[in-house]
């Protein structure tokens, strides 16, 4: 039944010679990597704690080759892991030991930028930022801006439903992609969505965006382009207390303002960032808020004035408004450099991605502070405050025995608390392999079974990215044995072993 595909995959063994013969018929030598030294760079994605060497890496250059690769793998029962730039943070592109990596890196052409229709048609290996750069001469841009936008690809963005610092106002990938062209594991091509505002039938586009390469391989993406606002300005506010900062976020929303961006950093994060970036952050503040307003100059002035009033009323100890584009970018530079800055003060860090209702922020942060003591590890917090998406950065040292295990347990506890507070284990990074156990906490048996059935409706063979995103019920049963919440035994219908 539903979890059969998974169990089958656990015992997959591939006839490597037959696979290589098959792939050689499809791909010329420069498109097929087989030697260990060539495969090594593909052994992990942005989540480096999990690694696996694939049997082969395919770098097709045409859709016809993608079709033939998938048909070959399908006929031989070989798992396929699609990959963009490999910047993902949840191990979604981690290879399968008995499978291939299907890299879309050479699908790097922008096929069309249509000024009149305000859309762009691109191949999946095109970088996120490249789309906005191509649209810039027309005063247009592609709104979702994940922090990795300089490197991450549109195909990867589709797989993860990527967000960014502006998604509160401009939406996620799912709100900005109009159409995708997909090859199924059987090698059949289909398109979902359209250049019109909707398409006939079920909204399969919404289903496939964020499906982590489990349902099909994307070979073309059509995105919506939006007019670039004339002006953007950012307000930076300091708070002596994180709870006050959290309340200020709610107060902004309650005042009827949807800012273009609304971000928070705690003291540990600003302390890591400031020496590195010199953004001018208030080092005495327990938390700072960055609130961006965009639009016409009059509109921005109006909104900034309203935001400033709200922040003052919420008890901000200091408020500064960017007075130039250079200053705006400097304020943001600190936030955008938070991950590398933390990377400078610790040998390794582990980035979490829980989403919580905004009003539970203070609760979450004090719980994280307690966990720092419990696990003996430090944690810096950056927060897409506007949409409740928290990125705790747990600092550890992979070379110290036991450090990673503690970091992982720390992270798991944060994610499970996110669910308990009414949120989600992942806001924008995806489940991948990383949060597969926490899926068992967020969802119960019927939903997990439904996800497996959805997967099977697209990929009956279970060969697309097996073992990711949706756990098997047996995995949940094993995990459930370790994590009993409030005395509830999860998955009581399953045998325990």
């Amino acid at each position: 039944m539903a979890n059969m595909a998974k169990n089958k995959n656990d015992v997959i063994s591939t006839d490597r010679e037959a696979l290589v013969r098959g792939l050689r018929r499809v791909l010329s030598t420069h498109c097929l990597l087989l030697g260990e030294e060539d495969l090594r760079p593909y052994e992990c994605d942005g989540l480096t704690a999990y690694r696996e060497l694939p049997l082969a890496v395919c770098l097709p250059e045409t859709e016809a080759q993608v079709i033939d690769i998938l048909r070959t793998c399908h006929s031989l029962g070989v798992p396929v892991v699609a990959r963009g730039a490999g910047t993902g943070l949840s191990g979604g592109a981690m290879p399968h030991a008995h499978g291939i990596v299907l890299s879309l890196a050479r699908f790097n052409k922008i096929l069309r930028v249509d000024r009149a229709a305000r859309l762009a048609v691109v191949q999946p290996g095109v970088r996120n930022l490249a789309v906005s750069e191509a649209a810039a001469p027309f005063g247009l841009y592609y709104a979702p801006d994940p922090s990795s936008q300089i490197a991450c690809t549109l195909g990867g963005n589709v797989a993860e439903n990527s967000g960014g610092v502006h998604c509160l106002k401009y939406g996620l990938t799912v709100h900005n992609v109009l159409r995708i062209r997909v090859v199924s594991i059987e090698g059949e091509v289909f398109e979902v969505g359209s250049e019109a505002p909707d398409a006939a039938g079920y909204d399969l586009l919404a289903l496939m965006i964020g499906s982590e390469g489990m349902l099909g391989v994307v070979t073309e993406v059509t995105v919506k382009l939006v007019p670039k606002p004339e002006l953007a300005q950012v307000v930076m506010a300091s708070f002596s207390d994180v709870a006050k900062a959290g309340d200020a976020v709610a107060a902004i929303i309650a005042a009827g303002i949807i800012p273009a961006g609304l971000e928070m950093m705690d003291k540990a994060a600003t302390a890591a960032v400031e020496p590195f970036v010199k953004a001018g952050y208030d080092m005495n503040a327990e938390a700072i808020l960055l609130c961006e307003s965009d639009g016409t100059p009059e509109e921005v002035a109006e909104e900034i004035a309203r935001v400033t009033d709200v922040l003052n009323a919420a008890g901000a100890s200091d408020i500064r408004v960017s007075q130039s584009e250079a200053e705006r970018l400097r304020f943001w530079a600190g936030r955008k450099a938070a991950f590398p800055a933390v990377g400078r003060i610790t040998p390794d860090y582990y980035c979490m991605d829980g989403t919580i209702p905004r009003k539970r922020l203070a609760e979450m942060l004090s719980a994280i502070a307690a966990m720092e003591i419990k696990y003996g590890l430090r944690c810096a917090n950056v927060f897409h405050a506007g949409d409740g998406n928290l990125h705790p950065l747990i600092m550890y040292d992979a070379s110290k025995p036991g450090d990673w295990e503690r970091a992982e347990a720390f992270g798991a506890e944060i994610l499970e608390l996110s669910v308990a507070l009414g949120g989600s284990i992942t806001g924008e990074h995806g489940v991948g392999i990383e949060k597969i156990n926490q899926m068992c906490v967020q969802y119960a048996t019927p939903e997990i079974e439904a996800f497996h059935r959805v997967k099977a409706a697209f990929d009956e063979s279970g060969l697309l990215n097996p073992g990711k995103a949706v756990p098997s019920l047996h995995r949940c049963a094993e995990y459930g044995r370790m994590h009993v919440h409030h005395g509830d035994v999860k998955f009581p219908e399953l045998e325990r072993f």
Binding site: G201, E299, Y443, V454, A456
Partner: protein, 371 residues
């Protein structure tokens, strides 16, 4: 008719129907009975399963039982200065409502709104129903209760099934609860009116669409183009100065007549809905009645004995699709309300339908005759 007052009632009704292989016709207020294909099976009325479960203005969401009237939700939101930004049409009650409105009911329900997936004039700025669905509690075709999504804006754990439910016309499950993202109402709104023909309207709308203007709705009919600006006061005033046109007095009634399709432009049967890339020229069709959504939505009056295939054939090469929106049920069943799917997509639809409703008892034929 089966009347469900609770989640348990819905589950029991679906389980019984599944055991007897008997189709169910899920119904809220019946305000969208006119829309889609066949209405088959015993009516499962969920309008008594109603009530707002949670509304958190600062978290920007509302959760309500499927039978909750849209009017009740909108009243609660209005108290806090918020709205359903996709402006769903109710198609019930009020003056000269179109055929199918259910007399005596409390009006369109949120479950029906999500199931039908229809958005109103503000869709061009804010997005469609599916863009605002954060989560659903669904009773699938076996009577199983499934919770997808949640109450937070960002949630990529598991497949995004809740958005697929928008527009699925009840064929994948009974919507027992829905959580929708809500937004603050704009501070300021102004409506401008221009005299121009359809081609000029399409040209202007697309030109404006490429500029950072706060256009929240557009409507062309019979030589007049109506444009609504919404946003910060300064933004609306600035755009008004830039665009010219005549400022309309009390335009709310006008926009409501478009949202609810009580405007004479929609008084046609059959009425075709063509969703197209916004900038394509008008297809070679007679009977253009109205243009909305910045040019991307165009309404045509058809003929009962007309060449229906020709309408679909005109929309397809332009990159869009044509829906037989309002027409006698016999015609909708004969022609199919919705554009036929290519074989690969139809096969996927059937498999997806089967995963949620293995016996095919939920609203069979309402979306496509094949399932």
């Amino acid at each position: 008719m089966l009347m469900a007052h609770s989640l348990d009632d819905i589950v029991a009704a679906v389980r019984n129907a599944a055991a007897e292989h008997a189709p169910l016709r899920i119904r809220g207020a019946g305000s969208k009975d006119f829309y889609g294909g066949l209405l088959a099976g015993e009516v499962l009325n969920v309008s008594a399963h109603r009530g707002i479960i949670a509304y958190e203005p600062t978290e920007l969401y509302i959760t309500a039982k499927g039978g909750t009237p849209l009017a009740e939700i909108e009243a609660a939101l209005a108290e806090k200065g918020q709205m359903l930004a996709f402006e769903p049409p109710h198609f019930s009650g009020g003056d000269a409502g179109p055929a199918g409105a259910s007399v005596g009911s409390a009006g369109a329900t949120v479950g029906g709104c999500v199931a039908a997936g229809l958005s109103g004039p503000r869709r061009q700025q804010a997005g469609a129903v599916r863009d605002f669905v954060l989560g659903v509690k669904l009773v699938d075709g076996t009577g199983q209760v499934l919770n997808f999504g949640g109450q937070v804006m960002k949630n990529v754990a598991g497949y995004d099934v809740s958005r697929v439910i928008a527009g699925s016309l009840g064929t994948l499950g009974v919507i027992a609860e829905a959580t929708l993202k809500v937004l603050p109402k704009p501070v300021s709104e102004t409506t401008l009116v221009f005299d121009c023909d359809a081609a000029e309207a399409i040209r202007r709308l697309n030109e404006w669409g490429g500029l950072p203007l706060p256009i929240s709705a557009s409507f062309w009919h019979d030589g007049q183009l109506w444009l609504r600006l919404s946003g910060a006061r300064a933004a609306v005033e600035g755009a008004t100065g830039k665009l010219g046109g005549n400022v309309a007095v009390n335009p709310e009634k006008h926009w409501n007549s478009i949202r609810e399709q009580t405007h004479p432009a929609f008084a046609a049967s059959p009425l075709w809905r063509l969703a197209l890339p916004s900038n394509v020229p008008s297809p070679e069709l007679e009977g253009l009645r109205a243009i909305e959504w910045g040019g991307a939505l165009r309404w045509y009056a058809g003929e009962v004995d007309g060449d229906h295939a020709a309408v679909r054939a005109a929309a397809a090469p332009l990159g869009g699709h044509a829906t037989l929106y309002r027409a006698p049920e016999s015609l909708r069943c004969l022609e199919g309300a919705f554009t036929p799917l290519p074989p690969a997509l139809l096969a996927l639809h059937r498999r997806l339908k089967k995963t949620f409703d293995p016996q095919g008892i939920l609203n069979p034929g309402r979306l496509y005759a094949e399932f």
